[in-house]
Symmetry: C2
Subunit: 463 residues, 2 copies
């Protein structure tokens, strides 16, 4: 559409206005008025429900949806940054209530659907809503009172609504038990295919948890496993774990789980110093051996890993008049500092402080005492306080308030968030024959979340 006649009137920036009568029944996504502000660098839409939205001109140009600028088959941008004028202004503007039509200074034309724009409104509220849709961040914390979500294995494989329930509960609660699988190997592979594919590690596509001679992992013994997350020796530990019970011992071998995020919240209240130490100390992990192939793995993690804090610093720059009263200025911006307090600074030097609830939240626990390295990269005076903090954390996990114990039966599969839950098992007696056998596998959270989005969409579409 480069240089084509868009049939729009070109007007000086700041004087462009389009009032249109309401044609659609959808008040929410119907545009009542479109105008340019800030020397044509900003588009303001007034919606029929009275709400207002602002869109920077450069963002509109960057996201032109025409076939020169956007490859629809890939749902991807073709326009290069090299070709983008970051100081661009809007030359011509009109709207019919359902679409906005823009002419750029080089006569390139863009059009945007009202609902597409509404969804991408830059207000703090609209952005927060869209982010929740994209990332489903809701967590329901639990303790020893957990009602273990349970679904039928075959239902999950065959029925999209059951599969959606499975993965959305896995995201929200952190664990789902599937019952009715066979007592043969291969069931976790089926779940992997249902999701998309599994996450291969040095322990293989799937792995067998049973008592082994010369075990290359403490899990492959009959010993007690205290609460741990799997594989912190990788910098990107498996997000989701699948564990299928093939054979169970009569005495012992019970499974213990705990909601690590819930325990962290308690630790932060009860012993903020211990919490802070575990959030800030990089711990070395190691795993050396042979399985799928030979390996010598090293990583560094904070045992409690938090989301980066975000900060607002509207420093210096001139803020367009219309923007000053807008809610966006007290919202968060992306930053990687870790301050608890969000400081906003307008051109008037007015300062505001605001806490943002969802920042600094725990996003991953990285802890396996077996693979915590003998190498410890901290100054000597930090060593004992670290152990004291870790012990506080472990003691909380083991407390009656948080620990949930149950026994897996042959045909049960537990699927759980390995970034959030810690799990363990009680010891059991060794024998000449294998008394207990689980088959396990991992999946990546991005792959699981992808399947979850697709299932949600297909259910919404009634497919």
């Amino acid at each position: 559409m480069q240089g084509s006649a868009c049939g729009l009137r070109a007007v000086d920036g700041g004087n462009l206005t389009g009032f249109i009568p309401l044609k659609t029944g959808n008040m929410h996504c119907a545009i009542q008025k479109a105008e340019v502000l800030d020397g044509a660098h900003l588009l303001q839409l007034l919606w029929h429900d009275g709400a207002e939205s602002l869109y920077p001109a450069v963002w509109l140009r960057d996201n032109c949806q025409c076939s020169d600028c956007y490859l629809d088959s890939a749902k991807a941008r073709k326009l290069l940054i090299e070709a983008l004028d970051v100081n661009i202004g809007i030359k011509g503007l009109t709207t019919d209530g359902e679409k906005v039509y823009i002419i750029w200074p080089d006569e390139h034309c863009s059009e945007f659907e009202a609902d597409w724009l509404k969804k991408r409104c830059f207000s703090q509220q609209a952005r927060a809503k869209l982010q929740r849709e994209l990332f489903l961040p809701e967590h329901q914390y639990w303790g020893s009172d957990l009602q273990l979500p349970t679904l039928d294995f075959e239902d999950v494989l065959k029925n999209d609504e059951h599969a959606y329930t499975w993965l959305s509960s896995l995201k929200k609660v952190g664990i789902v038990r599937l019952t009715g699988a066979s007592d043969k190997r291969g069931e976790v592979l089926k779940l992997g295919k249902r999701i998309g594919f599994l996450y291969l590690t040095f322990y293989g596509h799937t792995w067998q948890v049973q008592d082994k001679i010369d075990a290359n992992n403490v899990a492959y013994t009959t010993g007690k496993l205290s609460f741990h997350t799997d594989y912190p020796a990788l910098h990107h530990p498996p997000g989701v774990q699948l564990l299928h019970c093939i054979k169970q011992t009569v005495t012992g071998g019970d499974t213990e789980i705990v909601d690590g995020f819930n325990v962290c919240q308690k630790l932060k209240e009860k012993n903020p110093r211990a919490f802070q130490i575990l959030c800030s100390t990089f711990v070395d992990f190691t795993d050396i051996g042979v399985d799928y192939c030979d390996f010598s793995v090293q990583s560094k993690h904070k045992i409690i890993e938090r989301k980066k804090k975000q900060i607002v610093r509207v420093a210096g720059g001139k803020v367009p008049e219309k923007v000053q009263s807008h809610d966006i200025l007290v919202s968060d911006m992306a930053d990687d500092t870790e301050h608890e307090v969000i400081q906003t600074k307008y051109e008037t030097e007015r300062k505001e402080e605001k806490r943002l609830d969802d920042k600094g939240q725990v996003v991953r626990i990285n802890f396996n005492n077996a693979t915590r390295d003998t190498v410890f990269d901290v100054p000597v005076e930090r060593v004992q306080p670290f152990y004291a903090a870790l012990k506080e954390f472990v003691d909380l996990m083991n407390s009656k308030e948080f620990k949930f114990t149950f026994k897996m039966n042959p045909g049960d599969v537990i699927t759980f968030d390995n970034w959030r839950l810690l799990h363990g098992r009680q010891s059991y007696e060794a024998g000449t024959e294998i008394r207990r056998h689980l088959e396990g596998a991992y999946a990546d959270w991005d792959v699981v979340a992808s399947r979850l989005r697709i299932l949600r969409q297909s259910i919404k579409d009634g497919r």
Copy 2:
């Protein structure tokens, strides 16, 4: 060894001392004297070369190497945190110069090899040395003057020294070209097996870069690809990329690469505000389509991702007398704040400020303009400054100083650090037949680094 007689004299904490004559030829790792400090909570070793090392008692107990506490077949800790007394002191101590023998209050005995202890000395210098060994962090930056490291494909597959050179150059320089592969598919799979295994994504185990109808990715067209890293739509983007040229077009299709870390350094000098914006703004990426299976992927990344800063805060706690003069107190401790300035605070309230060179360094670039989402989760007034910053970054990449251009020939494989390099290709003419064909694959940095450690060890051992 629980409760066994270790043959050691038990003495009150603080009075334990063992002077021993030099027996070994290795002055460096021979212990001259061992004593306990700080009420038996700290072991001090005096080495025959005059150096001193300190080890907290709790760390020694935690890392007891006996078969009750450590599973040698798995090279992993059996001792649970639940069983560790974090306030433990040393009850009995002796040394023969090559080993240290400790009795704990419950009569448990531990012994540690001198060289094992020396390697794990908590001094800043010793820790830094060991971390360099474990993680090989050295980078050699380059610009348009790059001498592209080149090795023979078959040599790398068959010879460990060549394979070691390959992977250590890949880590250090960020790219290695292998020549002499066939012009058939399957060569990147061979490299994957040489490393261990490949990193599977929604584009398959390996993928074919060629002009495709209804391309699900901009790479599968004949268009120019400006500088990008692959797959920022994943939260854990592929660390290493392998690209094998099977067929090359006569005109166009040249490969362009740039050292992203070097460009970042320049950007930080030249335009610190742009650098700061790209280090602190979370950008949404998206990838929706069908390939290995259907996918709907969403992620958030800072385009320039830096290492967490580490900070020293020796606040409040009593520092043992002997420790105060030790170099560890001005060293870094693990923290996740992003301050440029490292503040140390002793019990005396003395304050010191120190910059640490290697903190805040760039660890990953996450940027693909094609999959940068139309959704942009920042306040409206942050939008234009972000684009201006991004344009500065892209303009620097494209400058003559940094860009390196070359053409791949059939049988060439480039292997490169996808967290550090940005790559692109020049456009070429479409035709009725396929004129250009690359086969690609990914590997995870943890898997590559594991192979690198193993190769280094096997060469060192002369195997």
